[in-house]
């Protein structure tokens, strides 16, 4: 009787240790570097919008901005710089070719829109071109309005300054999708 109880207890202890190991591995996957990239890029964009609103308010105050406020603004700018450097390191480690073609911020933004680097690598280049323009794409499909030519990709300087933006966006999207595929599948 006692023996059976002892063996049962041992089984439970083994099961507990096994379950703890399994959940820790799952947690590692959930907080992987892909997720870090996504959260860092969102944090940077949030910091940017906060800094601009604060800056506008301080301009209204004019000369009567105290030292406290100026220190606050400086601290926020420092924090943005540090976060940006960390993001750059991560991007260069995980997807160097993507960062070369698209830049740090746009690359991280694309990853966060797609969900992960794997999902971005599996996409066709036409889908990369229209990432972030889902609303106008579905409006086009439903009502027959004008088709969108580019999504989030228009933040890139080459697309911004181009004469024919649609053409430039198509070329850049194909380059980006090639680069991500090399990053993910090749070494």
């Amino acid at each position: 009787m006692l023996k059976s109880i002892c063996s049962k207890m041992n089984n439970m202890e083994d099961l507990r240790i096994k379950l703890i190991k399994e959940t820790e591995e799952k947690l590692k996957q959930a907080f992987s570097e892909d997720n870090l990239i996504i959260h860092l890029s969102r944090l940077i964009s949030e910091l940017d919008s906060m800094i601009t609103t604060l800056n506008n308010r301080f301009l209204m105050l004019g000369d009567k901005v105290g030292e406290v406020n100026q220190e606050l603004l400086k601290k926020m700018q420092d924090a943005r710089l540090k976060n940006f450097k960390q993001l750059e390191k991560l991007m260069l480690k995980n997807c160097p070719r993507l960062t070369k073609t698209a830049g740090v911020e746009l690359g991280a933004n694309l990853v966060s829109q797609a969900g992960s680097i794997k999902k971005l690598a599996m996409m066709a280049s036409s889908k990369v071109q229209l990432l972030g323009a889902e609303k106008s794409l579905f409006r086009h499909l439903k009502t027959g309005a004008k088709a969108p030519k580019f999504g989030i990709i228009c933040l890139h300087e080459d697309v911004k300054n181009a004469e024919n933006k649609g053409k430039a966006a198509r070329v850049l999207a194909s380059e980006i999708s090639k680069a991500v595929k090399q990053d993910y599948f090749g070494k």
Partner: protein, 169 residues
């Protein structure tokens, strides 16, 4: 804001948790109430703590490492077939989810894991099932076939919450 189980105990309701019970806890979150359950069960008992969200799971793993009769499980309570390999039969089910189909989730889990004459506690959040309907009508529609149970109003301590205490027939 105190734990819902502790509020029930303070009011004087009989909870039927004995020493040595094996408990399935659905929706453990940070593990505050789960620790109370594990203390009530004692060293011979065991508590399976289920949770879906990985951000909350970090805290729960710490609690489970400190107590020798708790095990964390990162699974969705909607799909009992995914974690059925770890659990045999349980004496008690405690459920604290704020989901729309939480009664359905409980019925699935109880059919699979609960022993005959096993006990259970459900915490039902009326506003997450339907935000517009008055809660008294919601409670009238609620029925669990094959179970003996009573419904308790928890309005004083937790707003729009109900507790269901019962056992399998």
């Amino acid at each position: 804001m105190t734990s819902k189980l502790k509020a029930l105990i303070d009011k004087g309701y009989k909870i039927n948790l004995n020493k040595g019970d094996v408990v399935l806890y659905l929706g453990a979150s940070h593990g505050v109430t789960a620790k109370i359950v594990s203390e009530m069960v004692g060293d011979e008992g065991f508590v399976y703590c289920l949770e879906v969200a990985p951000t909350v799971m970090k805290e729960l793993v710490k609690v489970c490492k400190a107590n020798k009769n708790m095990a964390p499980m990162l699974y969705d309570a909607n799909k009992p077939e995914t974690y059925a390999k770890y659990i045999d039969k349980v004496d008690f089910i405690y459920q604290d989810l704020a989901q729309r189909n939480q009664i359905n989730i409980f019925l699935k889990n109880a059919k699979r894991f609960l022993k005959e004459k096993g006990r259970f506690i459900l915490i039902v959040k009326a506003s997450s099932i339907d935000a517009v309907k008055p809660k008294k009508e919601l409670i009238k529609e609620l029925n669990l076939p094959g179970y003996d149970y009573e419904i308790i109003d928890m309005e004083k301590t937790h707003k729009k919450h109900y507790a269901i205490i019962g056992r399998k027939k």
